[in-house]
Amino acid sequence: MTAADATFTEHAIHEDSSAARAARRSARIRGVIFAVLGLFALQLAISTMDTPAKFSFWIDKQGGTAFPIQTTVGILWILTGVVTGATGIWQLYRGASFKWRRMLAVIIPLWVVATLAALLEGKTANLTGVLQGTLALATPITLGAFAGILSERSGLLNIAIEGKFLIGACVAAIAASVVRIMLGPNADPFMLSVAAFIGVVAAAISGILVALLLAWLGIRWKVDQIIAGVVIGIGALGITNFLFLRVLSKNTQLNTPPTIEAVKLPILGDIPVIGPILFNQTPYVYFTLIVMVFFTFMLFRTRWGLRLRASGEKPSAAGTVGIDVIRIRYRAMILAGILAGIAGSSLSLASAGSFQMNMSAGRGFIALAAVIFGAWNPVYAFGAALVFGFSDSAQALLSILGVDVPPQLLNSVPYLVTIIVVAGVVGRVRGPAAAGQPYDQG
C-alpha cells in the first residue's frame, strides 16, 4: 500500500459519522452473539443426538388425522446451530448493512422448535393448536402495534393502547349484548353475528373517541403525551372496573355478547396441515393480515405515507410546504383508535366471550413492545407479535405435557426483549424523531 492510499483510508474513516461507527460496533456485537449462539446450539447437539423429537400436526381438523414428524433433538440443534452460526459469520462479514432482522424470521422459529423438542424429552407434541393459538393471540397485539405505529409515525406517542383495548373490550361486550337483547331469544345465527359485528363497530367508535381525547389533550392543551397516555390507561381501568362492578355484574345479560367464532375459509381451509392453522381462524385474524399488507403499502408507497412519516420525523418540514400536520396527526390517531378498539373487541368477543375486569392484562404494552421490536414497521411488528403470541400459546402445551417451565419466565419475554432492544445492545432502533414533541402550527 502506498502512502497516498494510507491517507485516503484515514480520511475515509475521519469522514465517518459517529452513528455509522456505533452501527458497525453493534453489528460486530450482533455477529459475535449469533456466532456464539450457533456454537452453543451445536454443543447442545452432542448430548442430544439420540433423544427423539416428535411433533405432529392435524392434517384436516383439530383432533382429526395426525401427521407425525420424527427426528432427533440433536439434528434440530445442528440445524439451529448451523443457521445461527452462519448468520453470525455473514453478519460479521457484511457489517452494518446486513439485514439481520429478516434472518430472525428463520432463527427464532428454529430455536423455539429445538428448545421445545429438548423440553419434551421424547414426548409427542401436536403443534397445530399451538400455532393456531399463536396466530390468534398475536392478532390483538398486532392490531395494537399497528395503532402504535400509526400514531408514532405521525408524531404522537401512544402509550394508551392498553386503555383503548380495555374500553374497546368493554364497549363491544355491552353493545353486542344490547343488540342481542333487542333481537330477542330466538335470533338466528346470522342476526347474532350481525350483533357481534355491531359490537365491533361500537368498539371501533370508542377507540376513535379515546384517540381523539388523547390527541386533543396533546395537541390542543399541550398535555405531555406520556402523561396523557398514562392517564388514559388509569382512567380506562377505573371506568371499566366501575362499569363492570356497578352495572355488568348485576345485569349479566348486558355482558353476554354473541361471540365471534372461527370461520373456516373455503378451499384454503382444506389445505393439509396449513389449513387448520392459518385458515380456520376468527375473522379478526384475516382482517389483521389484510390490514398488514394494505398498511405497509400505504405507509411506504403512497403520498399519505410520505406525509405521515414527514409529520413524525420533522413536522416543521411538512408544515412549511403547506401540509396540515395537525390534521394528519388527528387522522392518524383516529385510524389508530379504530384499530385498537377492534383489537379490544376481540378480547371480549372472540377470546373470552364476555368482558372481565382488566382483561387486557398488559397486552397493550406488549403491543408497544412489538412496535419497538418491530422497528416501527408493520411487517416486523407482526413478526414480533407472533413471537410474543407463541410464548403465550406454548405455555398451555407445555403444562398439558407436564413440562416444568415457569410461565412467568415466558410471560416476561416480551418485556425483557423490549428493554434489550431500546438499550440498543444489538442494534439501535430509531423511532420517529418528533414523536412526543408538541408541534405549533403558525
Binding site: I159, W221, K222, I234
Partner: protein, 411 residues
C-alpha cells in the same frame, strides 16, 4: 387580590381540578343509577331526585369513611373507653394508613421528575421492594423483631433501588427511553413476584393463591396508637420524615442541586461541569429506593402478608400526586392525605351505596388530566386565563436524553 387569595393562587388549579373531577365522577354515578333512572318515564322528578341523592349519599359516605363519624367522636369524648376511642379514630387513622404508601411513591415520582426522567416504574419498584422485604423477613424468621424489621426494610430499599437503577443506568449509558424501560420493568416485576410467591420458601402453606406466608405472625412495625383494630404504624412517621429528607435533599444539598439542574437543562448542567448522566442514575435509584421503602413499610406494617396485588396502582396514583403537588415534597404529603382519604372513604362508599371504589381511580385520572392541562381547567372555570410562565411540573427534557457524554474527557 387579597393576601389569602394570593397565598391560595398556586393551589387554584389543583383545587379546581379536584372539584371538576368529582363533578364528572358524579355524572357517571348518575347515569349508571339504573334503579332510580328506570323510573324516568313514570316519575322523572323522583328519578332524577333519587339519582342525585345517590351521588350525595355516596360522597357523604366517603367523607364519613375518610374522617370519621361525628356521633362516634361524641361518644368517645363522653366515654373514653379504648373501644369507643378506636371506633371514633379508626376512619381517620385508616386514612393515614392509606396515605402512607402514596407519600412514598409520590416522593419517588417527584424525585425522578425533578431530574428530568419519567419514572413510570414506581409501581414495579414499590411491589418489588415489598417483595424483597417479605423475602428477607421470611428468611430471618426467628430473629429478634427489630432486626427483622431493619434488615427486611434495607432489603426492600435495595431491591426497589435496583429496579430504579436499571432504567436510570440504561438511559444514561445507552439513551434508552426510561418511559419504555420502566413500563416494561413493571410487568417484569409482577412476573418476578408471581414466580417467587409460587416457591415453597415463600408460599403460604395450603394455598394456591399467590400469597406469602403470614408475616404479621412474627414481624410487625409497631403501632402508633395502641388501640383495638388500629393499623396506623410508624411507617407513616417514616413517610413524613422522608418528605422532609427529600425536600432537604433536593433544595439544600449539592447533589439535589445537580439533580434539579440536570432535570431542567441537561446541556447547561454539563457545561457547568456537572455529571448529568450520574444525576439521572442517582435520581432513578433514589426514586426506586423510596418506592421500595414504601413497599417495605406496607408489607411489614399494613398488610399481613405479601401478595401479587399488594399495590392497587400506587405507582400510578403517585404520578397524579406529583403533578398535583408540582413535585414539591410537602405538597405531595398533602395530596397523599387527600387521596388516602378518598381511597379510605371510598371503602365506606362502596359498602353503603354499592358504588365501586374504582370510580375513584377514574376520578384520579381526571385530576391528572386537569392538572396537566391547566389551560383546560381555566377555560372551564373561566378564571385568569393569562398567566406568567410557571415551573414545568413534568420533566423538562422527557424521553430524549442527550447523546452520551464524551467519556474520555470525564476520566
Amino acid at each position: 387580590m387579597s393576601r389569602v387569595g394570593r397565598a391560595l393562587r398556586p393551589a387554584l388549579v389543583p383545587i379546581l381540578a379536584i372539584i371538576t373531577a368529582f363533578i364528572v365522577g358524579s355524572i357517571f354515578i348518575l347515569i349508571t343509577d339504573f334503579e332510580n333512572l328506570s323510573q324516568l318515564g313514570t316519575d322523572p322528578g323522583a328519578a332524577i331526585g333519587g339519582a342525585v341523592n345517590t351521588v350525595i349519599n355516596a360522597y357523604g359516605a366517603m367523607v364519613v369513611g375518610a374522617l370519621g363519624d361525628p356521633a362516634k367522636y361524641q361518644a368517645a369524648l363522653a366515654d373514653p373507653t379504648p373501644r369507643a376511642l378506636a371506633a371514633a379514630l379508626r376512619p381517620i387513622t385508616e386514612t393515614l394508613v392509606a396515605a402512607t404508601p402514596l407519600i412514598f411513591t409520590g416522593l419517588a415520582v417527584a424525585i425522578s421528575f425533578r431530574s428530568g426522567a419519567f419514572n413510570i416504574g414506581v409501581e414495579g419498584q414499590f411491589v418489588l421492594g415489598a417483595f424483597g422485604a417479605a423475602t428477607a423477613a421470611i428468611a430471618l424468621k426467628g430473629a429478634p423483631m427489630p432486626v427483622i424489621i431493619l434488615v427486611a426494610t434495607l432489603f426492600g430499599v435495595i431491591t426497589g433501588g435496583l429496579w430504579g437503577f436499571i432504567p436510570g443506568f440504561l438511559k444514561a449509558r445507552t439513551g434508552a427511553s426510561e418511559v419504555i424501560t420502566t413500563i416494561m420493568l413493571n410487568y417484569v416485576a409482577a412476573q418476578v413476584v408471581l414466580f417467587g410467591l409460587r416457591s415453597d420458601f415463600l408460599r403460604q402453606e395450603n394455598s394456591d393463591q399467590p400469597i406469602s406466608k403470614v408475616l404479621s405472625d412474627f414481624v410487625r412495625i409497631p403501632l402508633l396508637i395502641d388501640l383495638p383494630a388500629m393499623r396506623l404504624h410508624w411507617g407513616f412517621i417514616v413517610a413524613l420524615i422522608m418528605a422532609v429528607v427529600v425536600s432537604w435533599f433536593l433544595f439544600r444539598t449539592t447533589k439535589g442541586f445537580e439533580l434539579r439542574a440536570a432535570g431542567f437543562n441537561m446541556t447547561a448542567a454539563r457545561y457547568a461541569g456537572m455529571n448529568a448522566s450520574f444525576s439521572i442514575i442517582l435520581a432513578m435509584t433514589l426514586s426506586g429506593a423510596l418506592a421500595g421503602l414504601g413497599g417495605s413499610m406496607e408489607v411489614l406494617g399494613t398488610v399481613p402478608q405479601m401478595s401479587n396485588d399488594i399495590s392497587p396502582g400506587y405507582g400510578f396514583t403517585a404520578i397524579a400526586l406529583a403533578l398535583l403537588a408540582g413535585n414539591r415534597p410537602f405538597g405531595i404529603v398533602l395530596a397523599a392525605l387527600l387521596f388516602g382519604a378518598l381511597r379510605n372513604g371510598g371503602g365506606l362508599m362502596g359498602v353503603k351505596t354499592g358504588i365501586p371504589v374504582d370510580l375513584l381511580t377514574f376520578v384520579q385520572a381526571l385530576v391528572i388530566i386537569f392538572v396537566a392541562a391547566p389551560g383546560l381547567i381555566r377555560a372551564i372555570w373561566r378564571v385568569d386565563r393569562k398567566k406568567a410562565p410557571e415551573t414545568p411540573s413534568t420533566p423538562a427534557a422527557p424521553a430524549k436524553p442527550d447523546a452520551p457524554t464524551p467519556e474520555g474527557s470525564a476520566a
